[in-house]
């Protein structure tokens, strides 16, 4: 191995001084070569891929990542269309024993495929673009929530959605809240606690704003309970659904809104917190992997999962020890979202709820829910998505609980769709344990 190609390993002391010789000019853009070279083809990623497991036409992450990257060095090879079947669950990332940046490779390959090979006039392109840009459509639904909820509940709408757009007709559209979180926040007069020493900026994302504001409100109450001043900066979509659909330009535009806003909050002394595991995953990992925007590394390094943040900065375990949630909640069947797993957070909810006296969370295992954001919403993926989810549905039904629990909005849709259970967010349970319900039986 020549010095120029020496792979760097950030955990080895002394490698900081290594200065590579710039023999590959394209390395200044996005150099995936060290990642491809790190692959020793053990195929562990392939055995973790939930799509490859049920779809014989999908060649798996090892091909989509390092092998395809190598093939692309030849002029006569185009990105294979199978990359669109990757659901972006990122399980290959945590499987790889050799730190190959698989999801980064998939994201760039998918973007190239969409850019060069997908017709901009095709139904698939516009359907994907619409799903990826939920952030742009949701405000319409939120403006007339009752009408929108009525319209989407009509069987006819589902039929048309499937026939015209290719959106899975068997799925129920998420219900729009009658009042968005941001509207509630403004009406409430913003933060109730002012504290220059303990500030957080909340990245609520799209779903808890438009669809489940109760999750966002729970976060506000829990954080104010611990004496935090909460900021709610202007924000766009985290980009997760755009990465998954190869719409990197759309994702970059959203990032160009988010990064300066969040960086300004950091300058004001805040850390960034997110309640959705895919939002935090995106800001922490995918942003610095995919974009070169000023302050993006700083935003990434200062972003936290909302519950993890409290655990590290407060005595959350002490506060939960022996607490009760009252009548509102019974036991839960808990599913750890793939994007929480990739942040090492898959055990967090079960550990914490174990401390609360009158409620238990039963982990339903490490399988993928199968919906993976917009993936399971596409008519052509619906069957695969439900097949992947089967293991989770079974485990949920076997768990001694009738309510589901997770931190990811689309996992939650899939859990509800597959079992008919009501699905809640961990923050709602923490709110009940720490603050009590709104009527104030704390």
């Amino acid at each position: 191995m020549s010095d120029a190609e020496q792979p760097t390993d950030s955990h080895i002391p002394g490698t900081e001084e290594f200065e590579p010789v710039d023999v590959f000019p394209e390395a200044n853009e996005m150099d995936l070569r060290p990642g491809a070279d790190n692959c020793y083809k053990c195929s562990t990623c392939d055995t973790n891929c939930p799509v490859a497991e049920v779809d014989d036409d999908f060649p798996g992450p090892k091909f989509q990542g390092p092998e395809q990257w190598r093939l692309k060095r030849q002029d006569d090879y185009d990105i294979d269309e199978s990359v669109m079947k990757c659901s972006n669950c990122l399980r290959c990332d945590s499987a790889c024993p050799s730190s190959v940046p698989l999801s980064q490779m998939h994201n760039t390959a998918r973007a190239e495929y969409v850019e060069k090979h997908m017709s901009k006039y095709s139904r698939e392109y516009w359907r994907n673009r619409m799903l990826a840009n939920y952030r742009r459509l949701a405000p319409l639904g939120a403006m007339f929530p009752r009408t929108a909820n009525f319209m989407t509940s009509l069987p006819f709408t589902g039929f048309l959605g499937e026939k015209i757009l290719g959106i899975a007709g068997d799925r129920d559209f998420p219900t729009f809240a009658t009042e968005t979180f941001r509207k509630w926040w403004t009406k409430r007069g913003g933060a109730k606690v002012s504290n220059p020493d303990k500030r957080v900026a909340y990245f609520h994302g799209c779903y808890s704003n438009f669809n489940t504001p109760e999750v966002a409100k729970a976060l506000v109450r829990v954080y104010e309970h611990f004496g935090y001043e909460i900021m709610v900066p202007e924000q766009s979509c985290s980009g997760t659904p755009m990465f998954a659909n190869g719409m990197l330009d759309d994702a970059r535009r959203a990032a160009e809104t988010n990064v300066p806003e969040l960086a300004a909050a950091i300058d004001d002394g805040a850390d960034i917190i997110a309640s959705c595991s895919s939002c935090s995953m995106s800001l922490r990992q995918e942003y610095p992997e995919l974009f070169d925007i000023e302050d993006i590394e700083r935003v990434s390094a200062n972003t936290w999962d909302a519950i993890e943040y409290l655990r590290v900065h407060e005595d959350l375990e002490g506060a939960l020890e022996g607490a009760t949630v009252g009548e509102e909640f019974d036991d839960f069947a808990y599913h750890a979202p793939c994007h929480a797993r990739n942040q090492g957070l898959d055990g967090q909810t079960v550990e914490l709820l174990g401390l609360v006296d009158d409620v238990d969370a039963y982990d339903v295992g490490d399988s993928c829910s199968g919906i993976s954001g917009t993936y399971g919403w596409k008519a052509e993926n619906y069957e695969t998505s439900m097949k992947i989810g089967e293991e989770m549905f079974e485990h949920m039904e076997h768990a001694p609980a009738d309510t589901g629990l997770t931190e990811c909005p689309t996992c939650s849709m899939q859990m509800g769709h597959g079992t008919g259970y009501e699905i809640r967010h961990t923050l709602e349970v923490l709110e009940a344990a720490l603050v009590g319900s709104e009527t104030g039986d704390a």
Partner: protein, 426 residues
Amino acid sequence: MAIEDDVLVIGGGLAGVTAALAAADEGTQVRLVTYKQSTLRHASGLIDVLGYTPDGEGPIVDPFDELEELPEGHPYERVGVDAVRDALEFFDDVVGDAYAGGHTDDNALVPTHGGTVKPTARYPSATAAGVASAPEDTLLVGFETLPDFEAPLAAAHLEAAGAPFEARGVTITFPGIKRDDAKVTRYAHLLDWDESVDGTTGARDALAAAVSDHLEDESRVGFPAVLGDDHPEEVRADLEDALGVEVFEVPMGPPSLPGMRLEDVLYSALEEKGVRVTSGVPVVDYETNGDPGRIDQVIVDRNGADVPHHADQYILATGGLVGKGVSSEREGVFEPLFDCYVPHAADRYDWFVDDVFGDQPYARFGVVPDTELRPLDEDDEPEFSNLRAVGGVLGGYDYAAEKSGGGVSLSTGYVAGKRAAKQVGE
């Protein structure tokens, strides 16, 4: 505020899991942090104790006869022979019926996918019918789409090695497999779920039918280890019923189903014993507080954010050169997390010998522990009073040549887990 536990184990392989289970058994709150998914997926699933002496003598019949003779500094010498027995008993309890070999001290001889024979102390029950010491004629079955197991070659190799039976190999098409590069888990799940391969026949019946055409008067049939992931017992029983002979698995290279099944068993045990598992994120640093000889907390890197984890006792189970628990640069060999002392020659040309299969010095690189398994510094003093090291990160033995990797991981993990738990709060 850090994330708090009594004992923190760094590394999710066999040694780390054993240490976590042993510490949890003593009633302490244990957390296991593993950077990536457990490397048990790379393991054959065989648990060897000692197949050959450090001088290359063997295969050894009874490893316990030889353990006493090992040189000072060998991990087995550090923990003592009784600890090896206790650790095996502990393992037998955890895995139950999933493993065989506990009825005797003697090594079993298990055929590998290359047709060699490996002396090993414990083996998956799926492998039991295939041991090479049984004088039963054997048919090995390989699949066209699974080039990792070349059955005719493996059979010829077994016969050449002097196995006391006739071995024959055939290669067939696996019914229901559509891709040339199908994942091993795809084979396993076809059989697990007994998926229909042609609209009517289930995968198990179809496979048995394809094999029975080739079966002559052999009394056992060996397959590459892909016979089920979640329900291997059922799959094997159905194949045995349909074929009328014993069926066994030949352990394979990575990704390995027997390794994954062992991972499942061990991680379920962790859950049952209340061990908290954090995976997907690396431990990158440590901090002391006042006393430089005591680790106060370690730093976990969560996608850029530093998350402190505090415990009373720490166990290092990060693996060897392959697992990245031991690293090297041109200037030296080191343990990257706590920078524990790793003895090695100053000139890097002395780290290896030219004969690839010779007595390679690098194979013995690793930290040097005292009998408490605390890594020692250059002056033979413990690096930290509350850090123990287990498994592949230890030096002083060549697990590949000795066939001792499994046993060293079990016994050092077991001892370190017990002692760490005992020391909590002292």
